[in-house]
Each structure stands twice: as C-alpha cells, then as structure tokens.
C-alpha cells in the first residue's frame, strides 16, 4: 500500500495526472480528435518517462477525452469524440432551453460515477481474472482471439460489411513477417518487413494522420469562404453564449436521486461493452442512452432535452474505459482501440500483460489502476472549473493543430526503434486510413485484427504442438475452450435467428 501511494504521489506522476487530464479535456473537446488519437500521439513522450506516470497519463487522457467530448456535444451540438454522439441529441436541446450548465453538470456527474465504477470494477475483476489465467493456455487464447474477431467487425461501425472488410485488411497485414516458425511471409525480401508490421506506427498512422488530412481539407478557399465564415461566426456566437450561461452546475441531491439508477445501470452496461473486444466508447454511449430511454418514466422528453439521456450516455461511455482495460491488462486482448494503444505503450515500457502484472509488478499495476480512478475524479473537478471555457477548445485553429499532430506522428513512429522504416509504415497507414475514413470504413477493427490475427495463428499452432493425439479431443476436453466455442457459435448465429423470428412475425 505504501509503495502504491509513494509511486502515485511522486511529482512526476501527479504532473502526468494533471497534464493528462487537462490534455484529455482539450483533445475531447476538439471535434474530430478522439481519445485513441490523443493517446497514440502521446506514446513517444512516454518513452522517457517512468512506467507509472506514463501509464497514468495515458489512462487520464483516455477517460477525460471521452468525458471532454460532451462539452462540445452539449454546447455546440458537435460531439467532441464519437463517444458523445448520443449526448449531443438531448444536450443541445437543453442548451437551447437555457439549461446548458445543468446539462454539463449532469454529464460531469454521470461521467465521474461511470468512470469510478468502472475503475473499481477493473481493480476488483482484473486480479481475479488473472488468477484463472494459468488455466488459459494456447487453445483458450486461440478461441478468445477468434471470438474477438467474430464480434469485431459487427460491433464497430454502422455497416457490418465495412467493419468486416476493415478487420480482413487487418488480418492480412498481420500475416506479414514471421509468426511461430521463422519463415517470413509477404516481406518481399525486405529485412524490415521480416519482423512484421510494427503495431505502434500502424496505429499512429491509422488514427492520427487521417484526422490531419481531413482537417486540412477544410482550408478556407474562394469557393467556401462565405460558408466557412458563417460556421466560424456561429461557433464564436455559441462560445460567447456559453460564457454567459446561468444556473447551477452540480445537480442537487433531489435532482440527482432519480438519475442515479440510470447512471449505475449504464455504468454496468458500459463495463460489459468495454470488455468486449472492438466495442468502444461510441457503442457504450448508445447502449447507455438506450437503457436510460427504456427505463425512463418520461420517454417523451428524449430527443427534446432529457437529463436522463445525458446521464445514460455519459455514464456508459466513461464506464467503457475501465472495462476495456480489464482484458487488456489480464489477457493482452484490448477491449477498445484506445486500450490497444494503452497496451502498446505498456509493451514499449517493457511489460507484458498477464500474471506478472498482478504478482511481480503488483505495486506498479495497482498504482496505475488507482491513478486511473483518481483521473476520473480529477476530470470532474477540472470540468467544473473549466465549464464556461472548455468549449473554446473547439475553436482552436487548424494552422496550429495540423503541424503539431503531424510532427508528433512522425517523431513518435521514428523514436520507438530509431528506424526510418517505421515512419514510412506510419505514412502508409495514414494514407490507407484516410481512404478508409473517406469511404466510411472504421479503423478500429483493422487495429484489433492486426493484434488478434497473429495471436490466433500463433496459439493455434502452439496448441497443435501441445496436444498429444487428436486436436479435436484436446479442444473439447477443455471446459474453457468449450465455453468459448459455444460463445462463438451463438455470436455468429444470433443475427440469423433474430432475422428469422422477425420474418416469422
């Protein structure tokens, strides 16, 4: 306990916590910049830092960016991150009714509760899960990876087919280089490709560069000058209005009481969504929003300014953060794109997920987890202090954003192993990611497939080597394997059965 506190209360960790929380709010408040991207840009800065401060900083950016997205969603009807899309519906209506500050207060309260609940769940579930991790070996990991792949495509976008194509692309990329047997595939004789595509540069490319290119598109030119001017003016006007908001921020106990069940329900759902590979904050917020709507006595208010809707959506998306870190830290399977970045940074620090994190390096791990909970509380306080100003981040000029993000992307890719080739990898994936964005293909399935594909292959081969005799008997005599096989079959068949039923009715 003492070691955890001393790790956590070191100057570097505290600074990292504050900087991460503030940075997260900025990234979240900027429409278009997501938590995943903010985190991937910070990886190069973490190289020189100690493990605890760097991971606490990333965790803080993660949760406060997801929260920060609600500011622009509520005040200017533009979700700061995809995770706040559901919040924008009711939040902006409330702003128009002059209840913007109240809406922000509810969103803050719900985010903090959702985040803290998920942090506690992480603290309680992860060490238990890791205890049974010794029962997990190659066959189980193979099936978990396959399970992750079966749901990754469907859950991560509006279009199932596009999600599957993205995941398929990730699988192909994952085949480059050597797997368990040291025979390089698709390396075209290039030494750099023999070791496979490096995950971190690929992630930076897929998450950051497309955003820069999209921002660069909105350059003011002769044709759209008037239009751009109008947009700028309306944003300025809304920001000015936000500065003059009246009312109280924190909900009173009487106001909070009817919202609490909604918040807790959405938090638990959010944790579940977080644990599933591939489903991130955006899904979490919609699940939370829908559960709030279904459980509400005032359904007619939804869409016209419901505080319950905001509470459900914001508790849901922040609960995803802690949930997504559970499988990442215990089994090495990230629950969301942002958790994949977190895992990547942890690997750069020289740690791999699993038993060691909760035994040999338990002090360090618990410091990070407690830091995560602290970040969730700090973001509420900071949000309260900044409530009238945070929306200004939305007006940060592109002339500053674009060069900063681009230079961070290039430096980050290079610094990981001092290899220019990784910069080319980043640029390649940046261009691919831009095309994917243009044609509405989600990037998260690609990254998850890039992790899960090689993992599935490696563990399938290892399990074949481990079994003495029939591989089928080997798999079917392992209870956890049978459980996951049933899960995979159910996941694959569920949509078909649902469709049949609907047709029968």
């Amino acid at each position: 306990m003492q070691a955890i506190m001393s790790d956590l209360l070191s100057l570097q960790t505290l600074l990292a916590l504050v900087a991460g929380t503030f940075g997260g709010l900025v990234v979240g408040g900027l429409p278009g910049l997501s938590a995943t991207m903010g985190m991937s840009l910070l990886i190069p800065i973490t190289y020189t830092m100690d493990t605890v401060p760097s991971m606490v900083m990333l965790a803080a950016v993660y949760c406060s960016a997801v929260y920060g997205g609600s500011f622009s969603a509520i005040l200017i009807h533009t979700p700061g991150t995809p995770a706040s899309a559901a919040t924008a519906i009711d939040g902006y209506q409330l702003t128009k009714q002059g209840k913007g500050l109240q809406a922000l207060g509810v969103s803050t309260t719900a985010s903090v509760i959702g985040g803290v609940v998920s942090g506690v769940a992480l603290l309680l579930i992860a060490p238990q899960l890791v205890k049974v991790a010794l029962m997990f070996s190659a066959p189980e990991y193979f099936l978990i990876a396959v399970f992750g792949l079966t749901i990754v495509g469907g859950l991560s976008g509006n279009n199932l087919l596009k999600g599957l194509v993205s995941a398929g692309f990730g699988l192909i990329i994952g085949m480059v280089g050597m797997n368990i047997f040291p025979y390089a595939r698709y390396s075209f004789g290039n030494l750099n490709l023999q070791g496979g595509i490096q995950l971190v540069p690929a992630m930076i490319g897929l998450f950051s560069l497309p955003q820069v290119l999209t921002l660069a598109e909105s350059r003011v030119n002769k044709k759209n000058r008037e239009e751009q001017k109008k947009i700028q003016e309306s944003i300025q006007e809304q920001i000015a209005r936000a500065g003059k908001m009246k009312g109280h921020f924190w909900p009173t106990p009487a106001e909070l009481k009817p919202l609490l069940p909604t918040i807790l329900k959405a938090s638990i759902l959010g944790i579940g969504v977080g644990i599933l590979p591939g489903a991130g904050g955006d899904i979490g917020s919609w699940v939370g929003y829908n559960s709030a709507k279904n459980g509400s006595k005032n359904k007619e208010l939804f869409g016209k300014g419901s505080l319950e809707g905001i509470a459900g959506s914001e508790a849901g998306n922040n609960a995803v953060c802690g949930g997504a870190l559970i499988p990442a830290l215990t089994l090495g399977i990230p629950g969301s794109g942002a958790a994949a970045v977190f895992l990547g940074a942890l690997t750069v620090q020289g740690f791999s997920s699993g038993t060691n994190l909760f035994s040999k390096y338990a002090d360090m791990t618990y410091s990070i987890l407690v830091g995560f909970i602290a970040a969730n509380i700090l973001m509420g306080i900071m949000g309260w202090l900044l409530s009238r100003y945070a929306v200004r981040f939305a007006a940060l000029p592109n002339g500053i954003l674009i060069p900063v993000i681009t230079s961070l992307s290039v430096i980050g890719s290079y610094a990981i192993r001092n290899n220019v080739f990784d910069v080319y990898v980043m640029l390649f994936f940046g261009v691919i990611g831009y095309c994917m964005k243009k044609f509405d293909f989600p990037a998260a399935p690609t990254v998850l497939a890039l992790i899960l594909g090689p993992m599935a292959e490696r563990n399938l081969i290892t399990s074949i080597q481990m079994c003495k005799g029939s591989i089928l008997v080997y798999y079917f005599t392992r209870p956890i394997c049978v459980f996951f096989m049933i899960l995979i079959v159910v996941t694959l068949l569920a949509p078909v059965i649902q469709k049949r039923r609907r047709e029968a009715v």
Partner: protein
C-alpha cells in the same frame, strides 16, 4: 489568443525534441552526420579533442544494441557502456536498433556503419547462428561477416517440470520416460537457444520430444506452471528463483558440468553427453573494421571485464559474467556454427 497558442506550440515542439533525444539516445544516422560535420570543420578542432589523449582513432563509439530498449540485451549493453568508456577513453553511447530478430541492427553494422572504429555491436548466441543458417535470411551475412571481440555473459540451459512432477525426477529418468511416451517441451521460440538445446539433447540421446514454441520464456513459464506442457527449457538465471521457491521442479542442466547455482541438479555431462548449451552474449564488430581500433576495443573490453566495479554490478544484476577474449570467442563461434549446422533441421 494567437500568441498564447504560439507559445504552447513551441512548448510542444520542445517536448518533442527532449522526448526524442532522451528516448533514442541519438540515432545512428544523426551521429554519423555529426561526425561528417566534424570532419569538415578541419583538423584544428580534432587536435583538441579526446581522440589524441586516448589514442583511439575516433572520438566517440556507438554501441549498437540490436534489440529494443528495456530488454535483457539492452540492460547488458547499458551495464557495460560506462566501463568500456572508462577503459577506452572516449564516450560510448548505446543505441537501440531492434527488429527482425536483431538482423536489422547487424545488417546496419555490416553494410552501413562506418568501419573506422566508431560502431561496434552486441550479439546473442546461438540466435545469430540459427539466424544466418536460415535460408530465409536475406541479409547474406554469416559468421565471416563479423569479428568477435569479447564474450560478456553465458547463461546455461536448464530443463524444468511442473511442481510435484513424479513421472521423472532427473535427466536420466526423463530420457528413460521419453523413450516410450510423448513428452511436450516448451521453448521460447524456434530459433532460440532453448530450441537449439532441445535439438542437441535429442541428437545426443536419440530421444525425440514434441516441441512447443512459445513467444518468450514468460509464455512457457505460465504453461509449465499451469501444467499445460510437460517440460520447459529455459536458462538457469530464469529458473533459480522459481525452482528454489518450489513453483517448478528442476530436472537437469544441459552442460558438461553441474551449475554452481543449482548444484543438486543432474547435468548432461553426468550421463556422458558431450553437449553444452547456453544463451551467450558478447561484443562484435563488422569484418574489416580498422585494425588499430579493433585492438584497442578488445583491450578495453578485456580490462572492463576485469574491473571489480563491473563485476559487482553484474553480480547485483544477476548476470553471470563469462569472459572470453577475441581468439577464444572466435573459436567458440566456429565450434557452435558446426554443431548447430548439424541439428538445424531438428529445430522446428
């Protein structure tokens, strides 16, 4: 507003630069550029610097670590660097260049790095040998491309089983059992010292095992503790603590002599097998490096290995120093090269 943002932008840029210089410890490309610049600036400056004091032909040495920062190889390099610097008289800087099982770094050492004595590298064995013996290796390099300066450390291979294993208790009973039963043995990868060790034992004893390749020793260690495999091959340094705490059972050492760390364990030499398997690491340079520089580096490395400060640092870090000078090291590589060539087909 714009001014404030401008300052913030500047701050971010500065952060970038510090992150870069600290983490990377300077890129090889950057250091060669610096040297080129220095060469252009004339001899006047050169007279004043350290190179004349130490007699070393260049004023800075890059110690290339061909794997990523934070790993065991990186720790070895960073442990040695200050002592090499002390005995060589010029600054020594560790640079990480990981990728493709070290071949990105070694290929850079041979093909691109200056051969004036300003770049030497670290290497791990038998991984380097299994790497170039592989027909899939496109670098075209082999043991004749490098010169082997000084061995740093050697970590003998050990075979361990799960806690409470009763089918076999030592090397002899294990081999007896494995003659009639399928025995799975985990290693840390198909081209690692662990896999080489299993293959050497198979060749010497005539027994075959079912190889299970994990990604690293941690994966194999979890598998043996969860009783997913029958055996694990790893290194003594990795096994001493779990064997002593009873988490796993030691079976035998694959060496001509017993290990001083776990003296109660049978060794393959006890059974009359003339095999010795280990994970060994040492310092190398590209073939054709400046002879005068090479001689000075060898001398400094040997002096560093005899430095009591390094010896106590190594003991604290649990690193088993195994000095070998240039002649011994070169002979050892040749012998390993021949031995591994014979068992190469048995690695997968």
């Amino acid at each position: 507003m714009k001014k404030i943002l401008g300052i913030a932008l500047g701050a971010v840029m500065v952060m970038n630069l510090t992150a870069c210089s600290g983490g990377g410890a300077g890129a090889p490309a950057a250091s060669t550029a610096a040297q080129a610049a220095q060469a252009q600036s004339g001899t006047a400056e050169k007279d004043g610097d350290q190179s004349t004091d130490s007699g070393y032909p260049v004023d800075k040495v890059t110690l290339l670590c061909p794997s990523d920062a934070g790993g065991a190889m990186d720790q070895n390099c960073r442990m040695m660097a200050p002592y090499l610097e002390k005995h060589l008289g010029v600054p020594v800087e560790v640079t990480n260049m990981g990728g493709s099982a070290c071949w990105i770094g070694w290929s850079y050492l041979y093909n691109e790095a200056p051969k004036d004595g300003s770049c030497i590298s670290f290497a791990n064995f038998p991984n380097m040998i299994t790497g170039y013996l592989d027909t899939a290796n496109t670098t075209g390099l082999d043991n004749t491309s490098f010169q082997f300066l000084e061995m740093l450390t050697s970590d003998t291979n050990i075979i361990v089983a799960a806690e409470g294993e009763d089918r076999f208790t030592d090397l002899e009973s294990l081999l007896e059992y494995a003659r009639d039963n399928v025995v799975t043995v985990a290693d840390a990868g198909a081209r690692t010292d662990d896999a080489v060790c299993v293959a050497q034992l198979e060749k010497a004893s005539g027994v075959t095992f079912q190889h299970v390749h994990f990604e690293n020793t941690a994966g194999g260690m979890a598998a043996i503790q969860g009783r997913q495999v029958d055996l694990l091959v790893c290194n003594v340094s990795e096994a001493v603590e779990p064997v002593e705490s009873g988490a796993i059972t030691g079976i035998g050492i694959i060496d001509r002599e017993r290990s001083s760390f776990l003296p109660e364990l049978q060794c393959s030499g006890d059974l009359g097998y003339e095999i010795s398997c280990s994970s060994s690491r040492g310092f190398i340079c590209a073939h054709g490096m400046d002879e005068q520089a090479k001689a000075l580096v060898c001398e400094a490395l040997e002096a560093a290995m005899n430095d009591p400060e390094l010896q106590s640092a190594a003991e604290t870090a649990g690193i088993n120093l195994a000095p070998m000078n240039e002649a011994e090291f070169t002979g050892w590589v040749t012998a390993q090269n021949d031995a591994i060539r014979e068992i190469f087909g048995m690695l997968d």
